[in-house]
Amino acid sequence: MAYSNKVIDHYENPRNVGSLPKDNPNVGTGLVGAPECGDVMKLQVQVNPETGVIDDAKFKTFGCGSAIASSSLATEWLKGKTVDQALAIKNTDIVTELSLPPVKIHCSVLAEDAIKAAINDYKKKQSVTAKTVAAQEKAQPTV
């Protein structure tokens, strides 16, 4: 497989490898793919609750070079974006940036899925937190 220099660079120097505390209410985690398909991506975003901006993103990927590069690139792009801007990232943007060959397009699709899964997880946590807060406030005895 002849890869573009950008894919090779992300493979050799992956950005933002690691994990964020997944129980933190400001962290959204997406885990997509399946081991038997040969690729699994874990992508995490940490959102600043004040500004709604993603201030950190981390990934771990089991997969081929372009799967690693797609998720590495995704974390780079996510930082500094708002949640809504993050959801606007399309797999085709990743394909173009990394010059992925046609057989590797599914890697970019997986990265897009991972972003969406992470954001959805964050939103779900936020609504649960909001509900809990609301419920707690409601339950507070009036003095």
């Binding site: 399946a34 038997e36 040969g38 081929c64 699709v109």
Partner: protein, 406 residues
């Protein structure tokens, strides 16, 4: 000594031609260029003599009679000729063929093509160690079975099937037995009479000979095997395979076979030690790595290992100055993981994580050390970025997790 890069560890795919083989071949391109079928002049006689000598060298490697060697373009053709040739010739007797799921595509796809013509094929499953179950083989035999085709050694995992036992079953039932011995011939002792095989496919380029020349051993006695030719023409090779003989290729094949026969014992000893060293260093440096296939019944120069939680193609990218193969889907044209590894039932994820090492005549200890050191570094790095490794270390059982299969 500075190590020469890239390192070749893919001797199952093909082998370099031994310089002694090249030397033997050269005069047959220019000086002795005759057509071995030209019976009326010295150019033809010289060529025929060279072919006869090579036929004997090849026959000697497998304990056959030179008259039982039919030259082909390679083992794919040999497999086609053996299976289709028997199927067509013995159609009156029956229409059932038995083979195994881990055979080379040249056997499987030939059988699939026969199924379209009304033949019935049983594809035996293999056990976890990659070997077929003899009881299953016996159970699969019917009164319509005309051929059993089971490879000697597997091209991916290097396991060696119980050929003598299969041969005994076939002989007992009066069924012809073909074996694709491409990976085994020249590497491990192989004798057509001891193993009771009737048809054997071999090729030169896996034993330090040239590409484009192979052979099919066709038993002439007890029983005399008849084949319907698949290529018609001038009636070469006793009518079984027409076409002008590739004299330089045949000369090279003969020389390669002779060298393999004479040097097999020392090559095996050296390769056993190198493979054991590679295996030990990898096991010392890494946890959760698994050898695919039987460790007992195995070619001396093969090692097939799955590096859990790491995907094969990304692993190959990290060792791009080493030529090896992977069973990962991403490295195959079909985008499917290796069907051989899948057949072992260890799970597709281990197929995606596998590397096949094939060592050979020019592999060195320095190369083994370089490759194992580099692999340990790359696997460690990739595991640090593997979500599967992280989950496993947290104690999550990956096999019980719900994955979204795409």
């Amino acid at each position: 000594m500075a190590i020469k890069l890239p390192i070749y560890m893919d001797y199952h795919a093909t082998t370099p031609v031994d310089p002694r083989v090249v030397e033997a071949m050269l005069p047959y391109f220019t000086e002795h260029f005759g057509n071995a079928a030209s019976r009326n002049h010295p150019f033809g006689w010289e060529a025929e003599e060279a072919v006869d000598k090579a036929r004997k060298q090849i026959a000697d490697l497998i304990g056959a009679n030179p008259k039982e060697i039919v030259f082909t373009s390679g083992a794919t053709e040999s497999n086609n000729l053996a299976i289709k040739g028997v199927a067509e010739m013995y159609r009156e007797k029956g229409n059932h063929i038995i083979t195994a799921v881990t055979e080379h595509k040249a056997v499987i796809d030939t059988c699939k093509s026969l199924e379209k013509d009304g033949y019935r094929v049983t594809y035996l499953q293999v056990r976890k160690d990659g070997l077929i179950d003899l009881a299953e083989l016996r159970a699969a035999i019917t009164d319509k079975t005309i051929l059993i085709s089971i490879m000697t050694a597997n091209n991916e995992i290097g396991v060696v099937q119980p050929i003598a036992e299969i041969g005994a079953v076939a002989k007992d039932k009066g069924i012809l037995f073909h074996t694709d011995a491409v990976q085994a011939a020249g590497k491990i002792p192989f004798n057509v009479n001891e193993l009771k095989v009737d048809l054997v496919s071999i090729t030169a380029h896996k034993m330090y000979g040239p590409k484009g020349i192979g052979a099919l051993y066709v038993r002439r006695r007890n029983p005399r095997v008849l084949l319907a030719p698949q290529i018609d023409g001038g009636g070469h090779e006793r009518g079984m395979r027409s076409g002008t003989l590739n004299v330089p290729g045949i000369v090279g094949f003969g020389k390669a076979a002779e060298l393999c026969r004479l040097e097999m014992a020392q090559d095996t000893e050296r390769l056993n030690a190198l493979v054991a060293r590679l295996n030990k260093r990898l096991h010392d440096g890494l946890d959760e790595i698994y050898i695919n296939g039987s460790t007992e019944h195995r070619l001396p120069h093969n090692l097939n290992i799955s590096f859990a939680y790491v995907e094969g193609e990304s692993l190959l990218m990290g060792i791009n100055d080493v030529a090896v193969s992977s069973g990962s889907a991403c490295t195959s044209a079909s985008l499917e993981p290796s069907y051989v590894l899948k057949a072992l039932g260890a799970g597709d994820d281990l197929a995606h994580s596998s590397i096949r090492f094939g060592l050979g005549r020019w592999s060195t200890q320095e190369e083994v050390d370089y490759v194992s050191d580099k692999l340990i570094r790359v696997v460690t790095k990739l595991r640090e970025m593997s979500p599967l490794y992280e989950l496993a270390k947290e104690g999550v059982d990956l096999s019980t997790m719900q994955w979204e299969v795409h």
